[in-house]
Symmetry: C2
Subunit: 458 residues, 2 copies
């Protein structure tokens, strides 16, 4: 177990979990015992424990923790979970947690809360803090401006290393990050960045302009996911964020970028599995919420699948004349669906990572046509042989050529659909598994019966 | 476009891309022009350009960049892509890039290279560097030890703040991170951590023991993915890694954790889409590699789908007696597959994030049984009504009750399979989409025909 060697006694966590999960709640005489127990395990284990528990039980754990530890744990939760906890905690502790959050995390939390509670919480902040949260709130949802930290030390380009270090020492406690420092002109234009490491090893009398390098930066209106995806692989701790007139307005730190990518990936995974993301850990999500996250998708997909009933209805005479054809329906639609999903998940992931851009649509289509034909040739040959041996030459020809055509068609459609989805502003992940399957089912059946009719002369 | 306001001229990138992608290669007289062009765009755009290009073309770009920029770009690529580039670059530049990499990144790269090339590269390093890479190499693949950075400053617990800062200044250039500092006893046991920020704002004469806090840390033998998943949400820059006798052996930095999670997520996405991960950007992957990453899965799934042919073959008489039954085959198997995939993707993701552990299997099964029944009740009622209106009461009853049972069955199996996979050491993502669909296809058909036979008296 991670971190387990020095500090964790696994039994402590097991005992804790049993006490907290038991339906009787925590009797006052055990609270003291629990409080001591909770101080032992490493912070990440307490976070995991809280995430697995329902909001009420998580609130019990939080109240039993020491104040500093409770804030650390609360801070590590995602905004949706924090919002649930706020419901469960008493007002006083809520204000405490809220005031201790970094402004950008506070904004994420406010987004999740009902307007009325959000307003009450905002009133508890002092003026400066409210202003800072306000600056962050000025940018649209999904923009870098909503995720950046506005608490940036102002380091001017005309300072020396010693002057800059002196200034930093004074403001170090308020800034979210002091390890990557944006350098600005006196009118707040971003002119460079310098790392604390560089400041730290340089001569004290050196001017900052000599040390600083060209900044990597983002605009506050940039899309948060796109920005986080290119920023993270650069392995930097933070980067400056500027407004449209190139003035410094904040910093985007790596941990915010990690959160953004994590949320986006959870969303993609959920959509490609034909449901909405849960926003909170599975075991602590109420049953009704899980059903809601799935039912709409299932209904839409079932209604689209009525198309296959229609197609088969059209070919009912062919089916009645050769019932043997119906034996292969699930095999053929399944293979088409799998081929389409392979292409779709690959391209969806490539789009998310920026490896493929919407204008690459033609190269993607051309690649997938060839890949699909190769796959179809292999599967089709095997299908031809097997079906011929068991059901005769005619069926063999029908199965073999259907597999070839279905694979080519599905791979192409599967590769192109996510790009089209992105172009029209929909989530590409929606077009990986669920819809591709339904679409290729219906098309595959049409291909199948047209080939069967002509080969078998029905 | 990110970072586009101050420095990027989009046309520069477009022009570059056109020159590089053109099949004629780069004529010497244009190299100088390109070299200047490449110095303009922000580093992340050059990285993206290199990732989208084939290895040969990426090598051209790298050779045209200034030395410092080239190393930055090479560093930002993943190990698989670096290995491809090494093939394409001349020996001299390779040694240069290799020597500049951090030891942990070097290890990832060595893993990707053919043994012969890896050995030749290792010989280019001086003794100290080879030792460091050797320490990292001593741990098994997939362990934290392979990803950590062994270049850690030794800060002893008996130092004062000023002494520690002085020491740091001397070693700052070699260490991968100096912002999170592990504090060790004279025999290298890990006793605490302190941040540079804290050192920086403290009184110079303070002893480190007064400043340091309880460390969050990992063991070098811990699983890399598990460790990275709990480490990242803690929003820390780095954490100490210890050996089995609790001695400090390295640091795991956030950017290594980001890489680990990114690789794991790409693998999960690929497997749940029924193929192997590509390890390199889609557009620069050779066609044959793409086909290889998919064909084995397709074959295995097609062979499993022969089960559905078997099932239908068994019920051929029933089908012949009521051809209308075959119309609903794709609808029913599709809905079962969708329900199973919903449960499977949710649970697979929850397993990856640590929200669900293998021993939660009973709670997961119980949740999914109820969710499946609720979903089945809704879909079944609608199916009953529609089918009754169009095809009569008997068919309505068959379709309605089949949907109820198939949804319950598929959700339960879909939720439990990933957990079983994890227990037997397989990749849970494998059991999301592909196999669940095939399994629920066959079972769904059996349920369907058994119900049909008893209701319709066939």
């Amino acid at each position: 177990m991670p971190g387990g060697v020095i500090m964790t006694d696994v039994n402590v966590l097991e005992r804790l979990e049993r006490i907290i999960r038991s339906d009787e709640g925590v009797p006052p005489e055990r609270a003291a015992e629990l409080s001591v127990l909770l101080d032992e395990p490493p912070i990440q284990d307490v976070v995991a424990l809280v995430e697995r528990s329902s909001a009420t039980r998580a609130a019990v754990v939080l109240r039993l923790l020491s104040r500093r530890r409770a804030i650390e744990v609360f801070d590590a939760l995602d905004a949706a979970h924090q919002a649930d906890l706020i419901d469960a905690l008493g007002d006083n502790s809520v204000y405490e947690f809220f005031a201790e959050l970094d402004p950008d995390d506070r904004v994420s939390l406010l987004d999740e809360l009902p307007a009325e509670i959000a307003e009450r919480l905002m009133r508890t902040l002092d003026d400066t803090e409210r202003d800072i949260t306000g600056v962050v709130l000025g940018y649209p949802k999904g923009s870098v401006g909503r995720r950046m930290s506005p608490e940036v030390p102002h380091i001017y380009e005309d300072l020396t290393v010693d002057e800059a270090l002196e200034k930093l020492r004074r403001v170090a406690n308020e800034a979210e990050t002091i390890y990557t420092l944006p350098i600005i002109s006196r009118d707040r234009l971003l002119v460079g960045v310098v790392s604390l490491r560089d400041l730290f090893t340089a001569e004290g009398s050196t001017g900052l302009v000599e040390l600083m390098s060209k900044p990597v930066f983002a605009n506050a209106h940039d899309d948060e996911e796109e920005t986080a995806r290119w920023f993270l692989p650069l392995d930097m701790l933070a980067m400056p964020v500027v407004d449209d007139s190139e003035r410094l307005v904040g910093m985007l730190t790596f941990d915010d970028a990690v959160d953004i990518v994590e949320e986006a990936d959870s969303e993609d995974t959920a959509r490609s599995g034909a449901h909405e993301p849960l926003q909170q850990p599975y075991l602590s999500t109420p049953l009704v919420k899980i059903v809601k996250s799935r039912i709409v998708w299932l209904l839409v997909l079932a209604v689209s699948a009525l198309l296959t009933v229609q197609v088969l209805d059209t070919f009912e005479d062919t089916l009645a004349a050769a019932v043997v054809l119906s034996l292969f329906i699930p095999l053929l639609t399944g293979t088409g669906g799998n081929t389409g999903n392979q292409a779709a998940t690959t391209v969806t992931r490539a789009l998310a990572l920026g490896d493929v851009r919407p204008r690459d649509v033609v190269s993607v289509a051309w690649r997938e046509i060839r890949v699909g034909m190769l796959l179809g040739a292999v599967l089709g040959s095997i299908g031809f042989l097997l079906a011929t041996v068991v059901y005769g030459l005619n069926i063999g020809i029908v199965i073999g050529s259907t597999l070839l055509m279905v694979c080519t068609f599905s791979a192409t459609v599967g590769g192109v659909m996510p790009i089209i989805a992105k172009k029209v502003g929909a989530d590409p992940a929606v077009f990986s598994n669920p819809f591709i399957s339904t679409l290729s089912d219906a098309t595959g059946l049409i291909i199948y019966f047209l080939i069967a009719k002509s080969v078998m002369g029905l």
